[in-house]
Structure formats: C-alpha cells, structure tokens
Symmetry: D5
Subunit: 147 residues, 10 copies
Amino acid sequence: MNRAALTDLILAAKRRKKLSWAKIAAKVGRAPTWTTAALLGQMTMSQSEAEAAANILGLGKEAVDLLQIVPYRGSLPTTVPTDPLIYRFYELIQVYGTTWKELIHEEFGDGIMSAIDFDMTLERQPDPKGDRVKIVMSGKFLQYKKY
Amino acid sequence: MNRAALTDLILAAKRRKKLSWAKIAAKVGRAPTWTTAALLGQMTMSQSEAEAAANILGLGKEAVDLLQIVPYRGSLPTTVPTDPLIYRFYELIQVYGTTWKELIHEEFGDGIMSAIDFDMTLERQPDPKGDRVKIVMSGKFLQYKKY
Amino acid sequence: MNRAALTDLILAAKRRKKLSWAKIAAKVGRAPTWTTAALLGQMTMSQSEAEAAANILGLGKEAVDLLQIVPYRGSLPTTVPTDPLIYRFYELIQVYGTTWKELIHEEFGDGIMSAIDFDMTLERQPDPKGDRVKIVMSGKFLQYKKY
Amino acid sequence: MNRAALTDLILAAKRRKKLSWAKIAAKVGRAPTWTTAALLGQMTMSQSEAEAAANILGLGKEAVDLLQIVPYRGSLPTTVPTDPLIYRFYELIQVYGTTWKELIHEEFGDGIMSAIDFDMTLERQPDPKGDRVKIVMSGKFLQYKKY
Amino acid sequence: MNRAALTDLILAAKRRKKLSWAKIAAKVGRAPTWTTAALLGQMTMSQSEAEAAANILGLGKEAVDLLQIVPYRGSLPTTVPTDPLIYRFYELIQVYGTTWKELIHEEFGDGIMSAIDFDMTLERQPDPKGDRVKIVMSGKFLQYKKY
Amino acid sequence: MNRAALTDLILAAKRRKKLSWAKIAAKVGRAPTWTTAALLGQMTMSQSEAEAAANILGLGKEAVDLLQIVPYRGSLPTTVPTDPLIYRFYELIQVYGTTWKELIHEEFGDGIMSAIDFDMTLERQPDPKGDRVKIVMSGKFLQYKKY
Amino acid sequence: MNRAALTDLILAAKRRKKLSWAKIAAKVGRAPTWTTAALLGQMTMSQSEAEAAANILGLGKEAVDLLQIVPYRGSLPTTVPTDPLIYRFYELIQVYGTTWKELIHEEFGDGIMSAIDFDMTLERQPDPKGDRVKIVMSGKFLQYKKY
Amino acid sequence: MNRAALTDLILAAKRRKKLSWAKIAAKVGRAPTWTTAALLGQMTMSQSEAEAAANILGLGKEAVDLLQIVPYRGSLPTTVPTDPLIYRFYELIQVYGTTWKELIHEEFGDGIMSAIDFDMTLERQPDPKGDRVKIVMSGKFLQYKKY
Amino acid sequence: MNRAALTDLILAAKRRKKLSWAKIAAKVGRAPTWTTAALLGQMTMSQSEAEAAANILGLGKEAVDLLQIVPYRGSLPTTVPTDPLIYRFYELIQVYGTTWKELIHEEFGDGIMSAIDFDMTLERQPDPKGDRVKIVMSGKFLQYKKY
Amino acid sequence: MNRAALTDLILAAKRRKKLSWAKIAAKVGRAPTWTTAALLGQMTMSQSEAEAAANILGLGKEAVDLLQIVPYRGSLPTTVPTDPLIYRFYELIQVYGTTWKELIHEEFGDGIMSAIDFDMTLERQPDPKGDRVKIVMSGKFLQYKKY
C-alpha cells in the first residue's frame, strides 16, 4: 500500500463511518486543518497521533506506519487546479500575489512568510448577507540572510 | 499608455517620492491590501479614488482614466510563480488545497469561498520567537445552485 | 470504488438499459443539464436524488453514498479539450472572452458572472436552414467588494 | 500598424470619447456582441461597417482597411485565462463540457454545435436576489458526415 | 470495457485474423478512411455497421454497443505528436497553416473549412521517382455569421 | 529587418495595393500555395522569384535578399493553434492521425509521407449544398531504411 | 500484450539470459543500432528478423507478430528527457541546432537531412585522455520541392 | 547591444558580404561547426578569434568584446523545435534515445557521452541515390563516479 | 518487476525493518548519499553492492539483478517539484543559477561543473540559532573543447 | 529603467571596465556569491552596498535606488534551464532530489532546508585529475510546525 492508496482508504472509512474531520481531529488531539492535511497525505503524524487516527477510522498496522512517514507533498492533479473551490485560491495568488509581496516587504523588509513554521484556522463567520468563510494564516517571517 | 506601463510608472513614482503603500492607501481612503492591488492593476478605482492616488503619486490625466478601467487581471509572469515569497502561497495550495475543500464542504456543504465578495488584511503579529505575518481572509460562501 | 469508476459504471448502465438523460432527470426531479452533470461527477446529489438515480440505473449502496460526496470537479483529460464538440466552447472563449468582459463590465460594472449561482438549459431550436443548438446560461452577477 | 495595435487604439479612443459598445454597435448596425468582438480583433467588418466604426471612434484610413482584414483569432494571453471573469467560462467547460456532449448527442446525434454559424446575446436579467447575467447562444447543429 | 480497451481489442483481432482495413471497410460498406477512424474510436457507427465490423473481427455484443456510442475524440497521446508519420502532418500546419488561412479567405471570404462535414480519401499515386501518398480532403466552407 | 518584419511589410503592401495571392503567384511563376507560403516566410525563393515578388509588391533590395534566405520555419504563435480555421487542421490530426498511420502503413509498409518532397493545391469545389474547400496533398512515400 | 509490455519483456529476457545487444543483432542479421531500436519498439522487423529475435530471447508467437507491426514511435516519457545520457543529445540540439541548419543549407541548399532514409553507427574511439563515444549519422538530403 | 542582437548583426553582415561559414571559419582558424556555433552565440571565442571574425564581417569593438563572453546557451525558440531540419534531430532522440542509452552502457558501463568535451564534423557524402548528410560526433565517455 | 516497483519494495522493507539509510550504506560500503540514490533508482550498483543491499533489506534475486542495471534517471513526478523540501533546491537554481554561471566562468573559463564525475555529502551543522543542513558538492570542471 | 535593464547595464559596465565579481564583492563588502546574485537582480542591497557597487561600476542615482528594491526573483528564461552549466544543477535535482529528502528527514525529521536563511560558497578545489568546482551550501533546518 502506498500513501495515495491510504488516502483513498481513509476517505472511504470516513464516509462509511459517517465521521467528521472535526471529530477525528479531536481524537487525534490536533487542529482540524492540520489533522485533515495529515490524513490527506500532507503532514507527518507521531506514533500516538497515527494510532488515534487509525483507531477511530478502523485502519490497520501498515496504515499506522505509513502515517508516520514524511510524505511527498503536493495534493493536486494539475498545475492549475480545475476544482472551482481550490481554483479560487490560485486566483487569489494571481490577483493578490504582487500585493502580498509589496506589503510584506514594506512591513518586514526582504524575506518571506514561512509555509513551514505556519498554522492556519478555518471557520464560519456569520453574516446577515450570507455567512462567510474566514481563514486566518500565520507564518513566521524569515529574513533573507546576508553573508 | 497601457495598464502595465502605468504600473511601472506608479512603482517608479512611489520609489522616487519615498511613499509607503500604507500612506497612499490612507489618502485613497481604502484598505492597504485593496489599494495596493488596485495600483498594481488588479482592482478598479472610482474617479475620486483615482484622483487621490494620482495626486499623491504625481500622475496625469490619462493615469486617472486608466485606474478606472476594469483591468485584465492576473499579475504573475509564469503559471507557477518563481518569486519565493509568492511561491509559498502556491505551495500552500499544493499542501492545503484538498484540506480547504474538505473543511469548507464539511462546514457549509457544496459551494465555494468567493474570491470576489472577498476582503483581506495583512499585519505583523509580534512573537518572541520571531514576528509572524498574519493574513486574515474573508470570502462569502457561495452555494452551488440546484435547478 | 472511486468517483471516476462510478461514472464509467453509470455510463455502462445507461447504455445497457437504453435510458436517456432526460428520462433519468425526470426521475431525479432536476433539470437534465444539472442531473447529467451530477451523474458525470460534477455536482452533488441529495440522499433522495442519489437514491432515485441509483434506482433507475440499478446501482448499489456505495454508489448512493458516492453521489452525495462533493466531487473534485474538472471533467476534461487535457487543458485544451481535444473533442471537437467540447473544443468549440473553448474556441468561443478564445474568440468572445474579451467581448464578454467588455459587455458585462459595461452593463454591470466590475465583477463577474457566477459559475456557482448558475443555471443553464440546452434545447433544440428548429430552423429551416438546419436546426440549432440553443443554450441559455444565467449566472448571478457578483460585484468586486471594495474595502 | 498591426491588428493588436489597432485594438489598443480603439480602446483608447472609446475611453477618451466616453463611448459605450452599445452606442458604437448601433452606429455600425450590428449586435453589440458581434460589434465588440469585431473591434477587439475577432470578426471581419464590411467596408461600410468599418467606416461607421472608424467615424464614431475617430480612426484613420489604415484602420478602416485593417478592420476588413480577416484577423488571426484568439484573444487571450494564456492557455488557461487568468482573468476571473473570463476564467469562469473556462470553468464552465471543465464542469459542464461532458454534459454538453452527452445532451447534444442525445438530442441531435453525432455532431457539434457550430461556433461559426453562431450568434449570441448578453443581457441583464433583473432578479430580487441580485441581477443576473443572461447569455443566449445559438449555433447550428452540424452532423458528422459519413462517407 | 471502455472505448480505449475496445480499440486494443480491434487491433489485436485484425492482426490475428490478418485482415486489412480495406477489407473490413468493404464489409462495413463505408470508405476505408471513415471505417478505420471509426474502429480507432473517432467516429460513430450505426447498428448495422457495428454488427458488420464485429462480425468480421469476431467481437461480442458489448463491442457492438460501444461502436455506436459517440466517442470522446482525440487519438494522440501528446500535444505535439512524436510519431514521425503523424508529426509530418503537424509540421504541415506549422509550415502551411497561415497559407491555408490566406488562400481560403481570398477565395471564400471569412469562414472556415468544416472538419465535420468533411470527407477524405488516401491513395497511392504511382511515380517513377518513387510512389507518392495522395490525400484529397474536402470540407464544406462555413461562413462566419454576422448578426 | 528580419524575416518576421518582412512578412508584416508584405501583408501591408498586398493590402495597400489590393493584390491577390493568385495574382502575385502568377507573376512569380509558381503555384499559389507555394508562393503564399514563401512570402509568409516558410519557403525559399530564387533570385528571380524574389525579384518578381519584390517588383509587384514594391519591396526593396533587402527584401529581395531576405526572400532568398532559408527561413526558420514554423508560422504559428502557439503549440495548439487558436485561430479556428487553422485549428480545424489540428483537429483533423487528432481525429485522423492514427487512421493516416494505419492506412499508409497498410498500403506502403513502414515509412512516412514526406512533408519536404511535397506539393499541394487548394481550390473551390462547387456544391449545391454549399461550396467546399478541396485540398489535394501529394507527398513522396519515404521508406524507413534498414541497415 | 501491447508493444510497451513487450519491450519490458524483452529487457527482462535479455537480463535473465545475460545477452548483449551486439549478440542479438548478430543473430537478427542487422546493425546493433537498428536491432536495438527495433526491439525497443521503434523499428519494424520482417518475419524472419522477428523470429530470430524471439528465438534468442525466448519469446512466443504473439511477440513475433507484434515485432512486425509498425510501432507508434517516440520512446521518451517527457518532452525534455530527464535521463542525463539522453539529455546530452537534447542539449546538442539546443547548442548546435541552428549551426546544423546553417551548414546544411550552405552545403546543400534548402532541405533537410532525412531521419527515415537514415543510418547510424555507434562505437568506442580509443583515446589516451579517455575513450570517446563516436557516433556517425548519415541521412539522405531531401530538397524542398518547388511547384 | 546584447548577444541576440549581435547574432542578427552577424547574419546580416554575412548575407550582405556574401560570405560562407566555411570561409569565415578558415579565417578564424577553427572548424566550421565550432565557428558557426560560436558566431550564433553558443561558443566563446578567444580575443584573436573574435578579432578575426569581426574583421571579415566588418564588426566593431563591442562585438569583439561580446564574442569573448560566455553566452547563455540554448538557441531554439520552442521546447520542441518547429523548424523541419532541426526537428529531425529531435525526432532522432525520440526514436533512438533509448537505443543510445542501451548501447553506450553496454560498451562503456554507466556514464554518459560528454556534450562539452565534444567535437563534430558535418559533410556531404556523395551517393548515386542522392547525396547524404554525414555527421560525425565524438564525445568523451564520462563515467559516473562512485563514492 | 520494473525499477519503480523495486523502489517501492525497498522503501517498504526499510520501513518494516526500521533500517536507516546510514546503516544500509555502511553495509553496502558506500557513502549514504550515493547509496540512497542507488536504492532510489538513480545509480548503478556492482554485484557485491547489490547483494549487500538485498541482504540487509531482504530482497530476492531479481532485485539483485535490477540494482545492477543502469536506470532511466529522473526521480521527480513533475517538471517543477511540488514537494517543499525538493522545491527549495529548484528555487536555488532560479535565484542562484546565473550567479553560479558567472562565478564558475570567472574562475575556470568556459565550461561546466560535471554532474557525473561528482560527489556530495550532506550533514548536520550544529548552530545555536538552529541547526543547519550542510551540503558539500564537488564536481570536476569540464572545459568546452575547441576544435 | 527596470531591474532587467539595470542587470544588462551592470554586465556591460563590468565588461567595459574589465572588473571581476570578486573585486566588486570586495568593494561591496559581501561574499562574491551574494554580491553577484544581488547585482544580477536576486538580492536586495543596503544603501551603502548599493552605493559601493554603483561607484565601482559607474552607475547613476536611479541604479542606486533600484538595487535597494526587493526584486521579483527568478533569473531563468525557461522552466527547465537550457544553458548546460545551469542545467547540470537541474539534473542534480532530478537525480538526487529524493535522496536529499530521505537523508534530511532521517537526520532532522519532517521539515526543509531553508533557501532564505541560507549561505553558500563556491571555490576551486585543486585536483591532479582535473580541478573541481566545490560548492558548500548551508541552510537552516526548518521544522514543520504542528498545531
């Protein structure tokens, strides 16, 4: 079994057991964003996290092992995503990419926002004109080293 | 003069006058993220916004007109961005794209987060282990219509 | 079974049972365009819609579950479609894309036509010089938010 | 002057003279969709249409000639459009492409909807929940020849 | 069985039975170019054509059904064909594409040669300096509609 | 002046002088297909052919030189052509490519149709149901050498 | 079994039987370059060549048939080869492509070196500073036909 | 002036002065293949070579300097070459790439043919059935280092 | 079994036996970088190296054979790597590629750093501000041959 | 003047003044790798560094300003580099990418080597079998944050 096969297995088990990501994350003891990413093959679990996940999903020993292996990351089948929900984020890069660059450099100087020392939450923001998706990202600023 | 030429002109004027995006945005009367995006050719200004921007940057009449034209959006020269700061956001899509999809569908059902009815802030988050870039995005949830 | 495999199964069942999309849509209680898209893995059915579809097509329990899962959208094997019927729509974008942009902005201001709050019909338009395909699309206009 | 340069000239003249596409189309005597496409370098005008357009836009003799030359069609700078308004149409192909194929074949047999013997209107559809963009396309059905 | 699998089956049967395309076409009652294209998954057969083909090739009921389904067209594994014989045709487009455009427009005005209402023959042209491949294509001229 | 600039010059001169390719070809003394291709930068003229072309088009000495230089061939701005007239030929390769391969191999054995020792005519084929474009291609069969 | 599967089979048999391409070529009675290309699915064998190859490699009847079928040529999995040995040849095209063009045109006029009426040897060239790979290519010059 | 502009200048000078590459190479004192590649921006000349080339071509001091700068190599405008003469070499890689790999490894073990410690000649090979282009390549074998 | 399947097998065996690359390399008697690359299908082992590797990993005879076959190199599934760790190296090429070119040419003249006669170490560099990854690469300088 | 134009200016000044990168770096007071990257538009200089560089190269006030602007990084004209020296580094990623991933994860756990908190030296390593290019890279290990 490889990691992609395990992801399919996890999705099928979740569907069959009618579990939510929120519930699985509570058992694993991590944030729902991180836990979902880990189970979709993008983050690496510790032994106890992997066992908790396997337990609630009904997965075997090989799955527990595989969830602890650092995955080859990258979850999308095409360079430009075709799925409308995911594409909107690509569109944000096209529209706001240079804006992020200008404003981060103005505030912090030359460097980047880390995508490794990074965390994120995603929640519902009630709004009378229609509820909104609120995403808060926080990444450590990393300065370009001079030498 | 086309829009790309105007963007170069704006960047040169800002550099020469040692202005910050924050200061320009205050004069325009809009958020720094929106104002920067507009001046980089990704949003459309009203007459008074365009005049305020042209005033502080020292731009002429044609610039005022061009800033009110809806632009052809998309600010990046390559499909996958080469600039490290901007690439990190593409990487987030590769790593978290399917996670966003799962969690938004779990919370809201089938639909997307709008990139049009959308706003965003970007700020410094002080942290003893190194300050962080904090980005808060808020987009209206749009449900797929059934018919 | 994944969603792509289910789509193949649906096409085979439809062929074997000599059903039409129109007839299936009538049983499902939705428009033929929406129903066909849903069965081809592009829309999400409710429990009762999925059961009606499974019933007429002779599909099992797993299919009923899968039809209720939000799919990863995007139904074409190549970036530029090779099938002549589908390519003609890509050609329309190449020829009329900037025209749509100009006319929608002229009528509505800066924003887009939603592809989510969207519906469509497709019908035969009799014509003595040869019948025509008539497609009526209707999408909510979404205005770019200023902030 | 080549055709792309003429398109820029037309857009600048329209902006300077504060003309609308609807008004230009009325002078040319053609539908707004067709006239806009023609002036954006996608359709070929007759002598009198070109003269009417040049007249209202204040263009010279070379422009009149160029508007009568069959253009090299294709108005987008990238294979997948980056502009959000135009992208939504590409997304419709990704989501509905196979649906169009199934329904046209079910109704008409093997063939395509012509993108040449084709016409289109675009109008505002008032709606209490937010006005909608309504696009009506009509293309002759062309049957695959057997031989 | 999907259409690609059927194509492999057809090629294997033809090889095993040492049939020629010419002979199969004679049984099907269509031109060799059309018949070969149909059996390679690019055209749609009628019931009687499919039965004749299945009969001579020794194919079963499912094959007869599949040959009557409109296929998703496009027979090449890469955007630019790698096979030398097929590449030469791509090269002709690179070398003669703009010539075809100029000459068809000069003779017919603005429009295209149909690839749907289209037929073709391919034959050996004896020549003392080496026999030649002669291809005659005939496609209906379709005029761009003005509206 | 490079070859691309010369091509623009030739098109402008032809437009201004209201010449047809047929007339230019008659002066050059070659077939219209070959002459058009040569003037569009895809074939190499002899001194006398170049002088005849320059004479009728009113071009100078540098043009006469450039028309005798072997060009870097390939006349299309994108890998998949966006212009509908030229695209139809690409579509023919997608639909008929494997058919050409099968039938040429069946008739001639392993080899290709030359795109170098090649000639072509393009003419109007009157038809009561609408005139047709008739293209006759003839290329020497080249057999793969065994060694 | 398709041709790609046969190639894998041939490589495995050669490995198991510890055969060299030189030895196989001697049995087949063709040059090692041609024989290797044929067994890797790029050339077409005669009945007796296929039988000789199958005999030494221990392949069955279907393999003998397949080796006589004209293959769909093109042996590389990516447009730009990733394997260092093969990439060096792509690099030669990038560095020397325009040089070949200039020198062949200077010597022969307008035309190409055939890749069909073509042969090649590859041998070791002893050299005190390190042995060299010597490749001799010979392709018939084909002149562009004028008409 | 950059290197690309110099290449255009060199080609124009060569054309105007009716020089051949062979004659220029003789003056430079290097092989025609190397000299042509150098003047087309793919190799680096010494001071005296650059002066000899500039002398015969009538180029100035800046050209002499530029010819001594190591160029950014890669002379083709597209990943897959569109020019038929150059494409044939790309086709050879597609057809013979894996053959070269097998035969070089069989003869030399694991390593590559250098494209740096490399030389080449190109000459006419008279043949009663039509003269041939003969290319002899010689590259040092480089063994993969083990460590 | 092909080489890709063997790589999966090796990764599974290493995981099951809880081996480290360092330990495997010690048994094989080569550097960890080289050994890891070899087992991931990028280098060729000798008989004794392959046997040592197979021994510690518990692989069979076919694996021993396959490890001695020169592989088709190239270990990444996309042209631009999506995995963040590997992407950083691609980013280094984007940022430092032209710097390497300038500095190597300044120090050595025209030529390249070999990627064949090449070795590398990778180690932990303790640092109070956070440990660092230290990579030392050493490749033979290869001078462009003049001829 | 934009940054690309400044890079050309810098290269021309360096050539004219016969400066070396080492000498410029000594004046700027930074390592040669960093200084070269900065002058090639990949790093951001401080005011005093920019002035020192402008002084030795003879550049004006606008250059001093531009050298202090954070650049849009990415110095290569194609996704896969065509220049042989730079390509070798891309090849190293293809051959060693997964090895780096395995060994860094084995030594450090899940995370990456920073390309931002990163430094590098490049030097000549004398060797009797031919001098070698030695590159030492050092990047901070960044651990994936769990949350």
